[in-house]
């Protein structure tokens, strides 16, 4: 088991995004392991509300003291909301990774297949362990 926190209600991408379905909308952020790898987050660039995205598209950017990293859309659909609080307080990504969501996607693709392609918390935990983080 890794030392990182997990959200039991979320699914995880290999690129370290988490996605949580809330009232039919996919809420997306980055995992505790991802924020820990990045170190102190200083900047977040969010997508435009209304834009159409496909699963795997790079749609946001998170920048830490170390580097700039892409944040990808784990599911396809329309960006219906972004968390603009993160623009003023990007450090929330470090302190509360599963509360500090980046954007919400209203699914427009084959949601079941896209979610099935993601990892469960247990699988992601093993994946992070294996990656050596």
């Amino acid at each position: 088991m890794s030392d990182f926190k997990l959200d039991a209600n979320a699914k995880y991408a290999k690129t370290h995004e988490w996605v949580r379905m809330e009232d039919g909308v996919a809420v997306v952020g980055i995992s505790d392991a991802a924020q820990d790898m990045m170190s102190d987050v200083v900047f977040v660039e969010l997508p435009e509300v209304g834009s159409q995205v496909s699963a795997g598209d790079q749609v946001a950017v998170v920048e830490s003291v170390k580097a700039a990293e892409d944040v990808n859309a784990p599911v396809s659909g329309e960006i219906v909301e972004v968390n603009s609080d993160l623009e003023d307080e990007p450090e929330q990504v470090n302190t509360d990774p599963y509360g500090a969501w980046f954007f919400k996607v209203k699914p427009g693709g084959d949601l079941d297949a896209e979610l099935a392609a993601l990892m469960s918390p247990e699988e992601y935990d093993a994946f992070v362990d294996e990656e050596g983080h």
Binding site: S39, D40, V42, V65
Partner: protein, 362 residues
Amino acid sequence: MQRTRLYETHVAMGGRMVDFAGWELPVQYPTGPSVEHQAVRTAAGLFDIDHMGQFELTGPDADAYLQHIQVHDVDQMEPWDAHYSLLLYADGTIVDDIFLYRLPDRWFIAVNAGNRAKDFAWMQAHTTGFDVELTDVSEETYMMALQGPKAEMILQRLTDADLDAVATRTALRAEVAGVPALLGRTGYTGEDGFELYLPADDAVEVWKRILDAGKDDGLLPCGLAARDSLRFEACMPLYGHEIDATINPVEARLGWAVGWNTDFIGRDAAFKVKLEKSKRLLIGFEMVDKGVPREHYEIAGDGEIIGYVTTGMKSPTLGKFLGMGYVPRAYIKIGTPIDIMVRGKPRRAKVVKRPFYKPRYK
């Protein structure tokens, strides 16, 4: 990869070890770089900088030799004085930046980790005709830095020497935690503080004693990330970033460090650049648009690529997105608009005054 004697200590303290110039060193501790940075600005931070190299220079021609191979006027230095300096190639570009200490019986020279072998070979090659002995004492000498407004108070608890009497950029020999050390009131963070040179065998003990002495005063062990952001805010150059073998001191705005009336290798070439006014100069800039400037990003002016970023980040102390970079002389005036190419997109920035953070020496 080389490890310092504090490697196990860093790991035990949760240090995140990375490769830096061939050394495995902590880039941060669990507190994180922003908190470590803040500790140095408001209290104190302790840095393992043993990767840096140290040379000793002795011999009847030591002063004349040193005047020949580096840019500072060493006649201006009294015993126990310390000073920043540069080694230049004959074409005026930079071999390395160094710190000189004039001790009563010898010179002591601190150099960058990544340049240690190169510097020693270069300095050794220029000893011809001088009766000097140059020795690399890096292995037996341990270097750590205690920096911040509370550094003196904390270190005073471990030594009988009167640290209040030690002026900025001077040194003394004293026992610290019972260990004989050379203490320089020097550093590379923009804060008051000390750099300690001590026997390598005592490093672990002294490190622990200093941390213990400052634990109630906000002293934190600090990693490479905080060291970089601290020197960046004070606009101190870092070799491989602001300065290298393609840059001369005038371009890097290090003319203040050069004793132009002395004769040293590279002097004529560097002076020519000074007289003719260099085509490019190092600037400081602040982002106007949102975006994080980073090293190697291109700088654009009037729609053309005109230069590049040498260091950029969100300044932990000022909260602004700041950078340094090289641009043509036409773009150096304070307030001049420039664009930083952030992941391929132009983001507006403006030239601002350097340093971003005014050093607070005693």
